[in-house]
């Protein structure tokens, strides 16, 4: 029982990342009908927003501290971040420590800008081109974006730690009456899951309970009619694209402590997220979220030792295998609408 619970928990953080990226992909596909291969790059840009913020916060000046000596007996040079000067030592340290959560506030406007520029500058011209062309041009864009990041940040992963309050693990099982030390779970993964749940909830609430969201949903169902009613649906869809980019970017920001960001992390996630979207059903938002968590948990179950002993290598292929089976038996995915991209 505890082993099963542990695997479910392990699957949650990866599942959250899949679900968030797939949610953004589906938003874009559902609204604009565009297959966005550059979505992984947006995830990656989000992660590098966190890197940028933590770098900006640690910008420092060098002072010579006469009270301390280095091993040669010279006065020690000490790097003092500017935040120390502005907010004092203690507050400054806390700010630097919390760089990753703070980058959320930086990432949201940046990602919305990136998304809107992308849509207005490039994707707009591809609405009426075939899906293959959309895939190709966004694939090219993904290459360009990741090369730009590589040029400025280098090719190596950049470790970005979580706030010290959330580093380390805790005995999750003991809280629920299991044997102590059977279910140890890192704090940050739980934070990531909670964060993903909040974001997903916020997106759904936004679509469900605001007028803007209602118009967008109407546009997803029948774009032409909404346009005929005198609503500028293009503008709203552009904003939705920015929102989808922000969701992917936030997923990236919060993922940095789990996996040090490097320039090709987006591509690695993209392939899997597409599989997730297809399993969930093209254009279905709940399907994307459900499939994301489902596949994340399935993946972690498949990497259990007992399972690998029975079917070796299953942990490597389980997601693809599930995708193939779903695509062949239930063409519109788990929760896809009838008739949407069923060909």
């Amino acid at each position: 029982m505890d082993a099963i619970l542990l695997q479910i928990l392990n699957g949650l953080d990866k599942g959250s990342a899949y679900a968030l990226i797939a949610l953004g992909l589906t938003l874009i596909f559902g609204t604009l009908g565009v297959v966005n291969f550059a979505h992984g790059a947006l995830f990656m840009i989000g992660a590098f927003c966190a890197v940028t913020v933590s770098r900006i916060l640690t910008v420092s000046r060098t002072i010579i501290d006469d009270t301390q000596k280095d091993f040669l007996g010279n006065p020690l040079k000490v790097e003092v971040p500017y935040v120390h000067d502005w907010f004092g030592q203690a507050t400054g340290d806390v700010i630097i420590d919390w760089a990753v959560p703070l980058s959320i506030f930086f990432a949201i406007p940046v990602m919305i800008c990136v998304g809107v520029i992308m849509e207005r500058g490039l994707i707009k011209h591809f609405y009426h081109r075939p899906h293959a062309d959309q895939i190709l041009v966004t694939f090219g864009l993904a290459i360009v974006l990741q090369e730009i990041i590589k040029f400025y940040y280098g090719a190596n992963p950049i470790p970005t730690p979580a706030p010290s309050a959330f580093t380390g693990s805790f005995d999750f099982g003991a809280m629920f009456g299991f044997e102590p030390n059977t279910i140890i779970y890192p704090y940050w993964r739980l934070v990531y899951f909670a964060f993903a749940a909040v974001i997903i909830g916020a997106v759904f609430a936004f679509l469900q309970f605001t007028t803007f969201g209602m118009v967008v949903r109407a546009g997803m169902a029948d774009r032409e009619t909404v346009g005929l009613l005198g609503i500028n649906i293009d503008k709203r869809f552009t904003i939705m694209f920015g929102l989808a980019a922000a969701v992917a970017g936030l997923a990236g920001v919060m993922y940095t402590p789990i996996n040090s960001p490097n320039y090709h992390m987006g591509m690695d996630f993209l392939v899997l997220s597409f599989v997730v979207v297809v399993v969930g059903g093209m254009g279905s938002l709940p399907g994307a979220v459900l499939a994301g968590f489902l596949l994340g948990i399935l993946e972690s179950f498949a990497s259990m030792r007992q399972v690998i002993e029975i079917i070796p290598g299953i942990n490597q292929v389980i997601i693809y295998l599930v995708a193939i089976i779903i695509l062949l038996t239930r063409p519109r995915g788990l929760m896809g609408r009838k008739g949407v991209m069923e060909e």
């Binding site: 293959a132 694939f139 090219g140 360009v144 090369e147 392939v271 093209m282 995708a323 193939i324 060909e343």
Partner: protein
């Protein structure tokens, strides 16, 4: 000639001449000069030109004719490589059986994957092929290590059986090299004229010969009723279905043929350098052949070969340029301007060549859906029309006074 129309025959002849004279054409700059780094006439790169040319020609038969965008074609390349290396290990160092097995196994593999993937079309087909290729990659890396060599890749060893080769060949203590009835693939002869050095590599000419054969075959496929059928699938599959035709056998045949082309390329790769690794099956490798085909011109005969050549040239030549070389180029400019220009160009060359490739690719997809070939045709048309317009203008000039 050879059952081709006149236009195709001259295209084939042109490609024939270009590949045969490649050691000269690709080596236009004398050794030791500043431009020598742009020489691409060394065996390793020339082999890659033709091998990836074959790969792209095959991909074009599927994507260019039927419009099915496969994102998992590298899997067949990898399977071809593995089977060729196994043939080297077990049977003989002769390249013919190795390549034959590579083509056959990749064909069978393509039959299996195609049979399943072709039940869907559009984006789903792309995802399915991608999923299959990623599965093959993951399996080759982990569970199939006894067959594929896992992370180290599949390599030849001294104590491989090689039942057809004589024992004395291996007795020398060296691992034998792939050969064609005794002609070693890696051997080259050199011919120096003045300060030019031209290298004629056996492996290159072997691969080039196979490339010409597969190019010829692809022309025949393009012009055959079968090719017309595939084009019909691309333009309107529904209509074909309404007329009572089952398109599946046609698309499956195209998929298998293009998989066999990929296997052939993989086998040739192993023949040039007898090792195979799983990274050849990674999905970025599949993405590369997509880039090649689109860049050159999808659905055209010569386009994929051009695209393959261009990408491989950029990968090997453009990536070698570093900032020092740039500084020597622009040394004639005033210092400030020189630094400025070098800073601007630097991100696009050297390690950043992928950026250039990505931008170029996007430009092609946006403005030139027909690729470089369409670009060439447009330029040619521009010149022709320019002439015509001149004539028209003269005629107009001539008539106006009479009014």
């Amino acid at each position: 000639m050879l059952g081709l129309q006149k236009k195709d025959a001259s295209l084939l002849l042109l490609v024939f001449a270009l590949t045969m004279l490649a050691p000269f054409i690709l080596n236009p700059f004398p050794e030791g000069s500043g431009w020598a780094q742009f020489n691409a006439g060394y065996p390793d790169l020339m082999q890659r030109f033709v091998i990836f040319g074959i790969f792209a020609i095959g991909f074009n038969i599927l994507f260019g004719l039927t419009g099915y965008l496969s994102f998992g074609h590298a899997a067949f390349l990898g399977v071809g490589s593995y089977s060729a290396v196994w043939m080297f290990k077990l049977l003989s160092m002769n390249v013919i059986p190795a390549i034959a097995l590579a083509v056959i196994t990749s064909g069978l593999f393509a039959l299996l994957i195609g049979f399943i993937s072709l039940r869907r079309s559009g984006i789903y087909f792309s995802i399915l092929t991608l999923a299959f290729a990623q599965m093959s990659f993951a399996l080759a890396y982990s569970v199939l290590t006894p067959i594929t060599g896992g992370e180290t890749g599949l390599q030849l060893a001294l104590d491989d059986p090689r039942i057809l080769d004589s024992v004395s060949a291996a007795a020398g203590g060296n691992i034998p090299v792939p050969s064609l009835f005794g002609i070693e693939m890696r051997d080259s002869s050199e011919w120096s004229v003045g300060s030019w050095v031209f290298t004629f590599n056996n492996g290159y000419y072997f691969a080039a010969f196979i490339m010409l054969c597969s190019f010829y075959l692809s022309i025949r496929i393009f012009r055959s009723p079968f090719g017309l059928m595939l084009r019909a699938v691309k333009s309107n599959q529904q209509r074909l279905n309404y007329t009572g035709l089952n398109t599946r056998p046609y698309t499956l045949a195209a998929f298998v043929i293009s998989g066999m082309y990929a296997g052939l390329a993989g086998g040739l790769m192993a023949a040039m350098d007898p090792l195979a690794g799983a990274e050849r099956m990674f999905w970025t490798a599949s993405g590369e052949v997509v880039l090649m085909t689109i860049l050159g011109g999808v659905g055209t005969l010569i386009g994929p070969v051009l695209g393959a050549g261009m990408i491989k040239y950029m990968e090997n030549i453009l990536s070698k340029i570093n900032s020092d070389i740039l500084h020597t180029w622009f040394a004639f400019l005033p210092d400030g301007l020189e630094d400025f220009i070098v800073t601007i160009i630097y991100p696009f060359i050297g390690k950043g060549w992928h950026l250039t490739l990505g931008l170029l690719f996007m430009m092609v997809v946006i403005f030139l859906p027909g690729g470089l070939v369409e670009g060439g045709q447009k330029i040619a048309k521009l010149f022709k029309r320019g002439k015509k317009d001149d004539d028209g203008a003269k005629a107009a000039d001539a008539t106006t006074p009479a009014e």
